[in-house]
């Protein structure tokens, strides 16, 4: 049986890739996808812990994370569309409306 730490390593790696994506990409949509990747990495460790601790609460938590992620995507993409409409770009380096 694959041990718990293997899943946790994979989850940590996926999370770290998501962090790199958020910190280094310019395109707001790809930054958003990286956030989704991070949420999924956490989901993976939730399910792995649920399996190895003989508990189903982790799986229930994954449902709530998915619900929040779906809501977040709907609102976030609407914000990105609104930004694109105003600034004609989704490059986060060129969007600085709030800069003083």
């Amino acid at each position: 049986m694959v041990p718990l730490w293997a899943y946790l390593f994979l989850s940590a790696f996926l999370f770290a890739v998501g962090v790199v994506g958020v910190a280094t990409r310019r395109n707001a949509l790809v930054i958003f996808m990286s956030i989704e990747l991070m949420l999924n990495a956490v989901n993976l460790s939730f399910v792995a812990f649920a399996r190895f601790l003989h508990s189903l609460d982790g799986q229930v938590f994954v449902f709530f994370v998915m619900t929040v992620a779906a809501a977040e995507v709907a609102v976030g993409l609407a914000i990105i569309i609104a930004i694109f409409r105003n600034a004609e770009t989704v490059n986060v380096d060129e969007v600085h409306l709030l800069k003083g």
Binding site: V17, G18, V20, A23, N27, V30, N43, L53, H54
Partner: protein, 171 residues
């Protein structure tokens, strides 16, 4: 056998995630993420979370990523002509150092020596006797009923918020 499947799904997920960050075109990034999500669904099945695996594929690959692809096509984004990542050395190094530290900390914290706390009552045989969906549903609608109902408020707020934000002009 389980190790083989784990390695296949895990390597595909990891490679697709790295590809998502490195891809120049947002469409290819989205397709890479879909591949990573499918591989992760396979890992859920390996972990005997069949319901989660199915919901994961439906919600992420089916709904969320299709929404992403719609928005990418709606905005008609061109592949970035410059490098897709920041060329600013401070931004890149901060990102890489942050990720390296995080990975190192997690690797130190969760090595093979990891000790698990007290086990719950839902071991593999118990869950298999009633079925994964029934077992999860029973917990969801008994112990987590109020949070479950509250998520409907989140979804309603998100629905209203998305419509208001994406509308062309507020009257």
């Amino acid at each position: 056998m389980e190790w083989v499947l784990f390695l296949i799904f895990g390597l595909v997920a990891a490679a697709a995630a790295v590809g998502m960050v490195l891809q120049r075109s947002p469409i290819y990034s989205a397709l890479c993420l879909i591949l990573a999500l499918f591989a992760q669904g396979g890992l859920y099945i390996l972990l005997h979370a069949e319901l989660i695996a199915a919901v994961h594929i439906f919600v992420y690959a089916g709904a969320i990523m299709v929404l992403f692809l719609f928005v990418i096509m709606l905005l008609d984004l061109r592949p970035e002509d410059r490098s897709p990542v920041r060329t600013n050395p401070v931004g890149v190094s901060v990102g890489l150092i942050l990720a390296g530290l995080l990975l190192a900390e997690l690797a130190l914290g969760v090595g093979p020596h990891i000790a698990l706390g007290p086990r719950g009552v839902y071991d593999f045989e118990t869950v298999r006797a009633v079925g994964n969906t029934q077992a999860v549903g029973r917990i969801l609608f008994r112990e987590y009923l109020i949070p479950f109902e509250l998520t409907s408020v989140i979804l309603l707020a998100a629905m209203v918020g998305a419509m208001v934000l994406a509308k062309r002009k507020l009257e």
